[in-house]
Symmetry: D2
């Protein structure tokens, strides 16, 4: 139902740790960039939107399940879609696999709120919801409570 975007990123040497796998903190970089690209494909350039509105979409919570490792020079495919969205929160859902391997290596959920640049809460504007959910987004909104994980 919700539009998917695939963001591809190659694991760098700097992303590895001495256990020989991508460090678990690196994934949050990838999830962030995947959101930027998902919004771009939905018609919203985050940088321009932030500059024009002086609003932001900070992360309010993350859940990441690491099911298997990925390694230096592998290409990670970050499949990204909107899990749920309301007027006060947007939940991005993710499934990551390594290019050419079908098994899911990571699943994640990242919830964003909308704030002014000095941190005051705001309702998520129409242009963001439209980029996330498409035309007719009003009919796809859920209550805020239902943007929470597992609901």
């Amino acid at each position: 139902m919700s539009r998917h975007a695939q963001y591809r990123v190659r694991v760098g040497y700097v992303d590895t740790d001495q256990a020989g796998v991508a460090h678990h903190a690196t994934y949050l970089r990838w999830l962030e960039q995947a959101r930027v690209e998902h919004l771009r494909e939905g018609g919203l350039v985050y940088r321009e939107w932030e500059n024009a509105t002086r609003l932001g979409l900070p992360v309010v919570d993350v859940v990441v399940r690491y099911l298997g490792p990925c390694r230096f020079d592998e290409v990670v495919v970050v499949d990204t879609w909107i899990g749920a969205a309301s007027r006060t929160a947007i939940r991005y859902d993710y499934r990551l696999n390594v290019e050419g391997r079908p098994d899911v290596v990571t699943e994640a959920q990242v919830r964003l709120a909308c704030v002014t640049l000095d941190g005051g809460p705001r309702r998520v504007p129409d242009e963001v919801l439209r980029a996330c959910l498409g035309e007719g987004f009003e009919d796809k909104l859920v209550t805020t409570r239902r943007t929470r994980r597992g609901q």
Copy 2:
């Protein structure tokens, strides 16, 4: 009940992003170092243990709730304790505040498993559980299922 450790870290300029706050991925660095220090205070030097046993404690899932920002040059206090531990998983729980401010800025849970260096699963060894839970750790273990969040 469980032993707490407090890890203090100063927010660096590199940790900030253009929204003027510490980037959400940075927190995973702090949570990791807080685990290393919690284990050290419990008598286990992670580096030596990893070298001696060729085992590791990879992160299998994380949950982070960002309740408020922290900023450049603030000192973050990472309060760390064992939320639950079993023979197959250890869950670290965290509460973060900025030194001198009582409000909690972040809460987190990080679950670790035990593996050999090539990734094969292992039971969590006694010396790790003892460092986490102290003497008499056997009586404090839960079933693996109960190391999951919210249970």
Copy 3:
């Protein structure tokens, strides 16, 4: 004379700092990945080479001149070539600009040595020099001293 490679990378939000520009440490990530891609285009997959030979090419020195900033969501083009190579060191030279802007934002030089995995020095193998300099690489080598900056 030397083969050039262009590595393109988009500045992420995580790469910025509170001054609103890409943090100066981020550039070293980009320079590293540009080397991996330069070698790949020269026929050497670094990951496979490292696995097969148990050798590495650690950075021994870096010089970076930041001539102007780059910002979130800009695409940085990392122009990469071999500045000088000998049997004991390879110097990568770089010029970075923002896509669509002609001015150079950064210049850099990174010198690599060759070591075994436990750190012992080794001569740079033929397959690496061939990937860097092409066939007939023997005629393009300089003395080690001449891999140093400004010489």
Copy 4:
């Protein structure tokens, strides 16, 4: 002559790469924090100064020589002092060793300029030069050209 400051930092797991040593980009984080602490010991709290003046001290060039590795859980001592300062640039010099080992693992030089928040060049203000060089700083200034490396 110039005041030295020692900044101590423990190498984190996240700082390592799959070669089992601290990644070369990590050092720039440490050098930055060492500058913040050097200024603090000289009486200038960078955060407050930046907020009050809306000026900044961006990095204009870096030179780093990696003489030996440092590893997970080692404590790195970053010895920091002013190599040269003028009205238009400050050069920080560094020598890094691992606590308890006398050999120098890294040497570095980082040159800063002074700019307004929108990037326009400014003369380095007195309060910064005083924090760097102490009272009587006017007599210790060099010409800008002499802040360059090797001069």
